[in-house]
């Protein structure tokens, strides 16, 4: 097992005339919490979708947990957990039914499924919400449920696309402590966010602008590379540059 969990080499994706991601190269180490920052339209979501096998790259390549996303996207899917920006679970099913469904899809049966579900429910504190329809859950509970479904098969790599959008501060805090918990146990986490306090909690960051990688390193290093005192400064500078 290599220590690089995600290896991206000159990854490019075009939609017609628009280049959403251009020549992106970066490596993420195993057990790292890696943040992907950038204004809307900078290519974060497209990058994650390519790494998940949801979109085919136009050129370049990438491996996730050592598996090539271009040649074996289906094998990649057993190695990853994914939370999309939009709540992607079934609102007309209860929390328990959603977990059971995804458990079945990830090949968990009978007693093994029951044990895994019980562990996750305890880890995420979902117990009191299990019999509620997902549609009736608040943003914070929906997000925990979605994380639960993404973790069922104990994936070594986790992709989280703006997981805390529309979630209250207390729920965000407990969500991040869960993320760090997972990382301590060896899970690699790639997360996109708009919140600077969340970006500060990442081990390393990459900042993207118009599909290009423009800064890479620890939160402080990234702020410096873009030319701001703080991350927030860096972000604003970037956004103004993009809008010009």
């Amino acid at each position: 097992m290599t220590d690089v969990a995600v290896d991206i080499r000159e990854l490019t994706r075009r939609f017609g005339a628009l280049t959403a991601v251009s020549q992106l190269t970066l490596q993420i180490a195993r057990g790292e919490v890696f943040g992907l920052l950038g204004p809307n339209g900078s290519g974060k979501t497209t990058t994650i979708r390519m790494l998940c096998g949801l979109l085919d790259p136009t050129s370049g390549n990438a491996t996730v947990a050592g598996i090539d996303v271009r040649t074996a996207p289906e094998r990649v899917k057993m190695q990853i957990g994914y939370m999309s920006q939009r709540f992607g679970l079934y609102e007309d099913l209860t929390a328990a039914e959603n977990l059971q469904f995804y458990g079945g899809i990830y090949g968990l049966r009978g007693a093994a499924q029951a044990t895994r579900l019980a562990d996750l429910v305890a880890f995420l504190g979902l117990g009191s919400r299990m019999q509620q329809l997902a549609a009736q859950l608040s943003g914070g509970w929906k997000q925990r449920l979605a994380l639960g479904c993404a973790l069922l098969h104990q994936p070594p790599v986790l992709f989280l696309d703006e997981p805390t959008a529309g979630v209250d501060p207390a729920a965000r805090r407990s969500f991040w402590s869960a993320i760090h918990d997972l990382a301590r146990h060896g899970t690699t986490v790639l997360v996109t966010t708009h919140y600077m306090d969340e970006a500060e909690r990442c081990d390393r960051l990459a900042m993207m602008s118009l599909g290009h990688l423009i800064a890479l390193g620890s939160p402080a290093e990234v702020a410096q590379q873009v030319g701001g005192k703080t991350l927030e400064d860096a972000f604003v500078i970037l956004q103004e540059r993009d809008e010009r």
Binding site: L93, G104, I105
Partner: protein, 370 residues
Amino acid sequence: MMTRLWPMVRKEFLQMRRDRLTLGLMFGVPVAQLLMFGFAIQTDVRHIPTVVVDESRTPASRDIIAALENTGSFRIVAHVDGRPALDAAFARGNAQAAIVIPNDYSRNVGRGTTATIQVIVDASDPLSSQSALAAAAGLGQARNLTILAAAAGRTSLPVDVRIRPRYNPGLRSPNYIVPGLVGLVLTMTMVLITAMAIVRERERGTLEQLIVTPITKTELMLGKIAPYIGVGLFQMTAVLILGRFVFDVPLVGSLWLLYGVSLVFIVVSLSLGLYISALVQTQQQAIQLSFFFMLPSILLSGFMFPRQAMPEFFQWLGLLLPVTPFLEVLRGILLKGVGLEALWPQTLWLAGFAVGLITLAVRRFHKTLD
């Protein structure tokens, strides 16, 4: 293999159970359509409102009027005086037929010269005027033959054409309509429901979460359509049972064959739905595309209008609809009681559709977002 199929099917059933409106439509539509089409569609128009202008006013004229009314095609609503009153009744729509007896009718009948009567029919709707025209012409002929035969001193007619309507001796519309309705109901619900089922997941964002899992394309597609195979079989059973007991439609042939071929047709319709779902992005587009397909399925398939009457081009076009051969199989089995020995070309054609549409759907359906 296919280990993820069962969780997928189970999830579909759970969702189906919670979606009360769709559930109601799935089971209500066939029943409502059966009652609607079964009772409402009568292709032989009878009892047309008729006005009479009797200028003769004799026993002979009353006799011929009564004879026309007895054909069942005409219902006398009024006796009027003169043409202007007749024209007014036509214009207002109070009457769609008129019988005019000139004042010399009785005299001419008595003298043995040609006596004229006139039957006027509102032919703006050709279908509804047909039976009135046929009834009037038929009565005229019968009258002439009786009078001529009597004049020639014969007690029987020289030629007797005996008509025997086979398979549907009562010439009842429901016998023709109800088997066709099985095909129509399945086309309408199966195509639309599957098309919607996948596009809905795409629109709600749940498809994205589903396709990052290791579920295979086949498991995903099969899991989506399998529950609806059961729904389709239930729908056709409901139509057949109601048809049998409410409309007295016979079930002559082999039920095994009937269900076997219907299963093929259901798979055809579901594959078409899957294919549509792969072509479109929104539920609205899915509905539009399904309806684009639905109308020719009603009009060109021979469900209501005989295909033999259509120009050759449209007969061919009708053959491109899977429901067309299916209707022939349905009527063949249900009304004629024939088996595969007679229906194999249609069955083969249906199987061809199944293979073709499944291939198309599988090719077109991708586990990616673009």
